[in-house]
């Protein structure tokens, strides 16, 4: 059922995303296997996605995070990753931009609500 991968021993990251991504990070321990499975089901895949597909997706996500981190380090304050840099890098992509704005706004509101809750408790 599952398709065999090309070049199993090929370690280098080449331009052809397929080759590099399949086998490039074979040695590293899988960081997000469980969460990615649930996520793939949520996004429309089968309830039990193939392990190879989950691996490919994990490598892609790690590469994405790595690229974003490197880019964020090179703009704004050099050598540091700050939220403003991430928001700036994402500005052209409407979905991601809206999601980051939502998350950060919600985080602020939750912090305020928790603080108010704690202060109410402290008073009584």
């Amino acid at each position: 059922m599952a398709e065999e991968e090309d070049d199993p021993g090929f370690e280098e990251d080449t331009e052809d995303g397929g080759n590099g991504i399949d086998s490039g990070h074979g040695k590293r321990k899988r960081l997000f296997s469980k969460e990615l499975r649930c996520m793939m089901y949520g996004f429309g895949d089968d309830q039990n996605p193939y392990t190879e597909s989950v691996d490919i997706l994990e490598d892609l996500v790690i590469e994405f995070i790595t690229e974003m981190t490197h880019k964020a380090m090179s703009i704004g304050r050099q050598g540091r990753v700050q939220v403003e840099d991430i928001v700036f890098l994402i500005r052209k992509d409407p979905r991601k931009f809206a999601r980051v704005k939502d998350l950060l706004t919600m985080n602020e509101e939750l912090k305020k609500a928790r603080k108010a809750f704690d202060e109410a408790n402290y008073g009584s």
């Binding site: 995303g17 969460e35 997706l57 996500v61 880019k71 919600m106």
Partner: protein, 208 residues
């Protein structure tokens, strides 16, 4: 646990806030029903009071608006600006409430399988600790919590884009769901051509 089908209007806000809350609480476990249920109750209480505050603020804003309109013919520009901002806030609240109601109508008509999938869609999140470790191993210095929140959020959207594209490819090629690596690779190729996948490895020389 907050069953999406039984969400009441007051807790509509808490449902949208739980992803942020959940993604902070769950570490390492993709869907932790125990941690989810214990954290949702205090959130619901707090966000209830928060939403009551915003609702009452909305009413006072509407009341103020009426008074100002009837009292003077030419309100000074400062007042006009404030009135416009209040109108915009009202519109945004109404749009939010509309959207929340529509979502509730939709979710209440889901089948069992759709409910499961929707629950997974909302609950699945990357573990904060692992993301933080990954970013810190790249930067070499520590990063703030907001960065971790932002990064895990956009990574989830990124994963979603790939899976959706792969499902399109799968359907186009006449295959059935469990996604195969060939679908994923074709999806990556398509997204790359649309420049939705960042790639700083290939340097293109403009004027050769």
């Amino acid at each position: 646990m907050a069953d999406p089908a039984r969400v009441k209007p007051e807790t509509g806000f808490s449902e949208t806030s739980t992803p942020a809350q959940r993604s902070k609480q769950s570490e390492g476990s993709g869907d932790g029903p125990v941690s989810g249920s214990t954290s949702s109750k205090p959130t619901a209480v707090q966000t209830n009071t928060k939403e009551d505050k915003t609702k009452s603020a909305e009413h006072t804003a509407a009341g103020e608006e009426e008074e100002e309109g009837s009292s003077s013919l030419h309100p000074p520009p400062a007042k006009k600006l404030k009135v416009e901002q209040d109108k915009k806030k009202e519109k945004r609240h109404k749009v939010d409430e509309d959207e929340i109601q529509k979502m509730q109508v939709l979710v209440s008509s889901f089948s069992e399988e759709q409910l499961n999938r929707y629950e997974m869609y909302r609950r699945a999140a990357f573990p904060k600790a692992a993301i933080k470790r990954l970013i810190q191993s790249i930067t070499g210095s520590s990063v703030s919590q907001n960065v971790v929140i932002a990064m895990s959020g956009i990574s989830k959207v990124f994963a979603g884009e790939i899976v959706e594209e792969a499902l399109d490819v799968c359907e186009k090629w006449g295959d059935t769901p469990p996604l195969q690596p060939k679908h994923m690779r074709e999806a990556v190729r398509r997204l790359k051509s649309r420049e939705q996948i960042p790639n700083t490895k290939h340097k293109r020389i403009l004027f050769h």
